[in-house]
């Protein structure tokens, strides 16, 4: 039977297979937002690529369901230890497992970072500056917005104002609440995106049907995940995706270069895939964990960790959920959870007494998710829980998405406990600092104000966090960062990191689009460098120049509108 990637698209077959002893050009660890794009680009450019994925290779018709509890396997459910003053919830909150990674269950909001995000140290004296500017990334934002593609308003007024290639989605009940509340307070808002969900059919992907199960994996194929946007093209161009392959060590040769990746297969059997270069794309927890677990003579504290910054400067965004009860019906389960937002409070405003800002976004928890919110937000239990849930259709939910700064003490380390393979699990430590607390307090109160302004009779809120980035940050100074501006580790010339972990700061934008844009840029760099990556230790820091001929089918030259 055909392997389905959405109702219309099938997995190209047969997929090329490489043998382990025959060195491939690139072994990529993790096929998520970054790994999917990288694999596709490098395969199209003619490199021999094997991508290892710890989870399954999803067949969307067989494996995915329109059901919350039935979607548990989409997440990274293996043990991790979480602590600190404000411990992060992991699992379904922020980590994926399986081809497509987190892009399988992201809500698919795709705002760009603002130009100011790349220089917050210069502007506000907080965090750090990026080694690149918004201008370096802008063409890649535009390119990926076409490839994914992104639906949204023709005019997005914040940061670097821009339009979107696909038209905005119709407004749902929660989006209406956001627009109404913001408008009553004189706050600008946009609706219908930007979101990586199709508002019109695109190639062999149907348009959205507004069923609301975005976070459970989009069976429709309307929401973008690299599983359906980039992986099929990667396979058509000769890449191998090896699922159920849990990498546990990047192997280092005596000359200080890496020569492959050791991994466990589904049965727990050890393998070694030889490669001329390795790219780790395991996201903010598994990437540092793999590099720590690869420690060896010469790299006693983990690979690429001569600076001691590996695992540090981990970031999550403030993700408080504010729920409002309305007299009228909302039916918040309809329409994509991600479909209206405001970035009016994104930038630093000195009058507020803290640096940086936050966005206001729609969220759309389904019944189990909403009931969990009510446990934390109201302390609901017993008959009180039954009562509040009987009013499920009267509630609307908005999210704060707030910038938490990079702090050295927020970090990934190895715990003493081991997982099912006998590998030390990750320990995640997260503490809020003064600026973060002030920002969260302000952001939370502002969203509560919006909710009341929209007409809510009762408003409750729940503190939480969303997304994970950092922990292998990029920078120009090898003594304070893990990788350079192209994702190449400062310590090992043929070892790269490319995923959310290289972000030095995070803004108040959902990170998915930025991660994919960075991956396309790193791919252009690697392609331009050609074979030099595989033997030379010279580090060329020139920008590669963007390639417009490597996009998946149907996505070339579909323009990004610029109305003004």
């Amino acid at each position: 039977m055909a392997h389905h990637l959405g109702p219309m698209q099938t997995l190209p077959s047969p997929m090329r297979r490489f043998t382990e002893n025959d060195p491939v050009d690139y072994c990529i660890v993790g096929v998520g937002s970054a790994g999917g794009v990288l694999t596709q680009r490098l395969a199209r450019a003619g490199f021999r690529v094997v991508a290892l994925e710890a989870g399954p290779f999803w067949d969307t018709e067989k494996d995915w369901v329109s059901d919350e509890r039935g979607s548990h396997e989409l997440y990274w459910n293996d043990l991790r230890i979480t602590g600190g003053t404000h411990p992060l919830a992991l699992g379904e909150n922020n980590s994926g497992k399986g081809v497509g990674g987190g892009s399988v269950h992201w809500a698919a909001f795709t705002p760009r970072f603002h130009p100011s995000d790349f220089r917050i140290y210069t502007e506000d004296g907080v965090g750090t500056d990026w080694p690149i500017s918004y201008g370096d990334l802008k063409p890649y934002y535009e390119l990926l917005e076409r490839e994914i593609p992104v639906a949204g308003p023709a005019w997005f007024p914040w940061g670097d104002p821009h339009g979107h290639p696909y038209g905005p989605h119709p407004l749902g009940g929660v989006g209406d609440v956001l627009v109404r509340g913001c408008t009553n307070l004189g706050i600008r808002s946009v609706a219908g995106g930007p979101v990586a969900i199709l508002s019109a059919s695109h190639g062999d992907r149907p348009h959205c049907i507004y069923r609301g199960f975005c976070l459970q994996g989009c069976k429709v194929g309307a929401k973008a995940s690299t599983l359906i946007t980039h992986v099929p093209d990667a396979i058509s161009h000769g890449a191998e995706i090896r699922a159920h392959a849990m990498a546990f060590r990047v192997s280092v040769r005596e000359d200080g270069r890496v020569d492959g990746v050791m991994y466990f297969d589904r049965e727990g059997k050890e393998h070694f895939q030889r490669a001329r270069a390795v790219i780790v794309s395991g996201y903010a927890i598994e990437t540092p964990r793999l590099l720590f677990n690869s420690a060896c003579p010469g790299h006693r504290h983990g690979l690429a960790n001569s600076s001691g910054t590996l695992g540090k400067y981990l970031m999550a965004q403030a993700g408080n959920v504010v729920a409002g009860r309305f007299e009228e019906l909302i039916r918040l389960y309809k329409a994509p959870p991600a479909h209206a937002l405001s970035e009016e409070f994104y930038e630093t405003d000195p009058r507020r007494g803290f640096a940086r800002g936050f966005a206001i976004q729609t969220v759309g928890p389904l019944p189990v998710g909403f009931a969990k919110h009510m446990v934390a937000a109201m302390g609901a239990w017993g008959w009180g829980m039954r009562r509040v849930m009987m009013d499920y259709n009267h509630w609307a939910t908005l999210g704060v998405l707030g910038e938490i700064l990079p702090w050295e003490d927020n970090r990934i380390e190895l715990a003493e406990e081991k997982d099912q393979y006998g590998l030390p699990v990750a320990k995640v430590t997260f503490n809020l600092h003064d600026n973060d607390k002030k920002l969260i307090e302000f952001g939370k109160n502002k969203v509560i104000e919006v909710m009341f302004a929209a007409g809510a009779k009762q408003v409750v809120q729940e503190p939480r966090f969303a997304h994970l980035v950092g922990a292998a940050r990029m920078g120009s100074d090898p003594s304070t960062s893990v990788v350079d501006k192209f994702g190449r580790t400062h310590d090992i010339p043929n070892l790269f990191v490319c995923d959310g972990s290289i972000l030095p700061t995070q803004g108040s934008a959902n990170p998915g689009l930025t991660i994919q844009a960075l991956a396309a840029r790193t791919a252009d760099y690697l392609i331009k460098q050609g074979n030099a990556i595989f033997y030379s230790n010279r580090r060329d820091m020139d920008e590669p120049g963007i390639r417009y001929d490597l996009s998946p089918p149907y996505t070339r030259f579909k323009g990004n509108p610029r109305i003004a």
Partner: protein, 250 residues
């Protein structure tokens, strides 16, 4: 016919009898099953028809935890044959040691946490009321549970010195609501549309019902008059400030 009596009632009447709980009389998500995709049909149908047997908890543990669950996720207004299984779902999770991807550094593993809590609840009850939790009146069961909910176990117990009570409470509640609100009978109760692929929705705004959904028909719904769990808190108790949401909303 709704079941169970309310031995703790001191005021008010009994729960009214309704065709099904909630404001959407006659609504049935399962009646729409034919419009769902095959994989979803199977998952949801199995949930209704194949209730796993108890394999992780001992008989005594299951009896006590079952009594706890009957109060933290009460279903006295549901008929016996329309009671949504919760303990079997939790038991299966622990039997398979299926995790949610993390453990707080100050918490024991999930399996141990439940065993410790069951022991603590029974010993607290013996100390306070001189009998087993399962033999208590509903009111006294609620007194014990409310003290855990409030983060002030009454009486205190050594287990809560080492295991933060609010974290255990959150895990218990999340396991309970996951089992209850993933069941199609609960979707009927709250008017949730249920699975919607490949059909989708067409009326997104103003809370409008799809042709196959039911309009809301509100009436005055009251929990049993003197239940301790019925009050609507304005906001969570202060202990919850360190309790963060676990769901993946955005």
């Amino acid at each position: 016919m709704t079941k169970k009596s309310f031995p703790f009632l001191v005021t008010g009447g009994e729960l009214k009898q309704y065709e099904q709980p909630g404001y959407y009389a006659g609504y049935s998500t399962m009646s729409q099953k034919k419009s769902w995709d095959e994989a979803t049909q199977k998952v949801v149908t199995d949930r209704v028809e194949k209730v796993p047997s108890i394999r992780f908890f001992s008989q005594e543990e299951a009896a006590l935890l079952g009594a706890v669950i009957a109060r933290v996720m009460p279903q006295d207004d549901r008929s016996e044959e329309r009671t949504i299984p919760i303990l079997p779902v939790l038991d299966e999770r622990l039997y398979k040691n299926s995790l949610n991807g993390f453990r707080y550094e100050d918490m024991p593993p999930d399996r141990e946490a439940y065993r410790l809590a069951i022991k603590a609840i029974e010993e607290m009850t013996q100390e306070r009321f001189g009998r087993s939790f399962t033999d208590l009146t509903v009111h006294r069961q609620e007194l014990i549970l409310k003290s855990l909910h409030d983060g002030r176990p009454e009486p205190s117990h050594a287990v809560w010195q080492t295991m933060p009570v609010h974290r255990f409470w959150a895990m218990l509640m999340e396991d309970c609501v996951t089992a209850y609100y993933s069941h199609p009978w609960a979707w009927d109760e709250i008017g949730f549309g249920g699975p919607a692929y490949p059909r989708g929705y067409m009326r997104l705004e103003n809370g409008l019902a799809e042709p196959w959904e039911k309009e809301e028909r509100r009436y005055e719904w009251n929990a049993p008059a003197d239940s301790l769990s019925s009050e609507q808190e304005k906001d969570a108790p202060p202990e919850y400030s360190s309790l963060h949401g676990h769901g993946g909303s955005h």
